[in-house]
Structure formats: C-alpha cells, structure tokens
C-alpha cells in the first residue's frame, strides 16, 4: 500500500522467543495503530501512537509492547511469543481526523 510498509510479510517463530514487527510510513502521519486480525474476531486494536514516544494500549495489549522513536516507524514487539499470538498483524496510519490507510499485513505463526 502506498506510503506504508510492514515487515516482515511472513514469519514463523518458536514459542518463547521475542519477535518484532515493523511498520514504516512515508506520509509523515501523526497517528499509527497496530491491529490483529483473527477469524471470528475481526480487527482488534493492540496499541496505538499519537506521536513520537506517545503510545497507549488498545483492547488486546497483553503480551505486546510498542515503541515509536521516529515519526515514520512504529514497532510491535512480542516479548515472549505464544501460540495464541499466531495471527495476521496490520498497521494503520492516519493524519488525524478520519479514515485509516492499512499496510499489507504480517502473517505470524508461533509454533
């Protein structure tokens, strides 16, 4: 998607290992969000950021942490991956106001 890139696109990791997912934007948008998508649950907010070093928890934040040291990068870290964190992770950005632009997602499998 234009202006927003997620990496990696796919990852398989072992239970108990730390994992970091990256969201990079070139739009200079203030707001960035991390969602996870699971069948039957839709899109659930994990963490979000209103600016550099300004982050807050969403509805499913347990087991996740985030960092935003630059406007363009929003990192999602699974401190110790569990099988319940197998999911597709989406980053979204917005300049504020209304309407998100989503990245293409990261498919994470924890074995």
């Amino acid at each position: 998607d234009a202006g927003i890139t997620q990496s990696p696109r796919h990852k398989v990791t072992e239970t108990g290992t730390p994992v970091t997912l990256r969201c990079h934007q070139t739009e200079n948008h203030r707001y960035m969000y991390w969602y996870r998508q699971d069948p039957g649950h839709g899109l659930r907010l994990i963490h979000y950021s209103y600016g550099v070093k300004d982050t807050d928890k969403g509805e499913v934040s347990d087991g996740y942490s985030v960092s935003r040291s630059k406007t363009e990068d929003f990192l999602l870290t699974l401190e110790s991956a569990t099988s319940s964190q197998t999911s597709v992770y989406f980053c979204a950005i917005t300049p504020g106001g209304y309407g998100y632009t989503f990245g293409s997602g990261t498919r994470l499998t924890v074995v």
Binding site: Y33, G42, R44, Y98, G99, F102
Partner: protein
C-alpha cells in the same frame, strides 16, 4: 458501549443481486461510520463512509443507509459482481479517536 455489531458473518449472493450487510452500535457519541473492504492477502481499504447527519450516501454501486434513531447502518451493493467478493468491515469512531471495527462479513458473489 464501544462495540459495533455486524451481521451476517457470511453471505452468498448471485451476480446482479443486492447484498446487504447490517451494523448496530450503542455509543451515540460515534460521529463517523466507515466501511472497509478487504481482499485475501491484503489490508482493509476504505470503501465509503458516512456521518450521522445524513441518512444515505452513494458512491458508485455502494450505498450506506444510516438510521440514527435505531443506531443502525447498512451497506448495500447494487448490481453485485464476482469482483466484489471480499470481506467487509463496518466501523465507528468519535472524531479522531481510534476506530472500532465490526467482526466482518465474508461476501461471495456467484458468477
């Protein structure tokens, strides 16, 4: 009160038919109601959105109907095509706060 309830979970319609997806909300402070379309392997993309001061909005073959008193809104797809087969999410938000998503509807248009 922050939930957005979406139905049905899945829907199969013949080409040319009019699929209808319904959503309901409780929080009367919501003032922005977008619909997102997601194709397999892609992130959700903004399709159409409405504010509560209007009862209907059309963009091409897509129409949102909004009933403020009933706290319900719906998406209609006119002259549906196989290319419309996707997952659709309704959502709601308050000003520039985080968007709350419904659980999604998997739509399949038969050729």
């Amino acid at each position: 009160q922050q939930q957005v309830k979406q139905s049905p979970q899945s829907l199969i319609v013949q080409k040319g038919g009019i699929p209808i997806i319904n959503c309901a909300y409780e929080n009367t402070a919501f003032d922005y109601f977008p619909w997102y379309q997601q194709f397999p392997g892609k992130g959700p993309a903004l399709l159409i959105a409405i504010r509560p001061d209007v009862s209907e909005k059309k963009e091409g073959r897509f129409t949102i109907s909004f009933n403020k008193s009933a706290k319900q809104f719906s998406l209609h797809i006119m002259d549906s095509q196989p290319g419309d087969s996707a997952t659709y999410f309704c959502a709601a938000s308050i000003r520039d706060d985080k968007i709350i998503f419904g659980k999604g509807t998997r739509l399949h248009i038969l050729p």
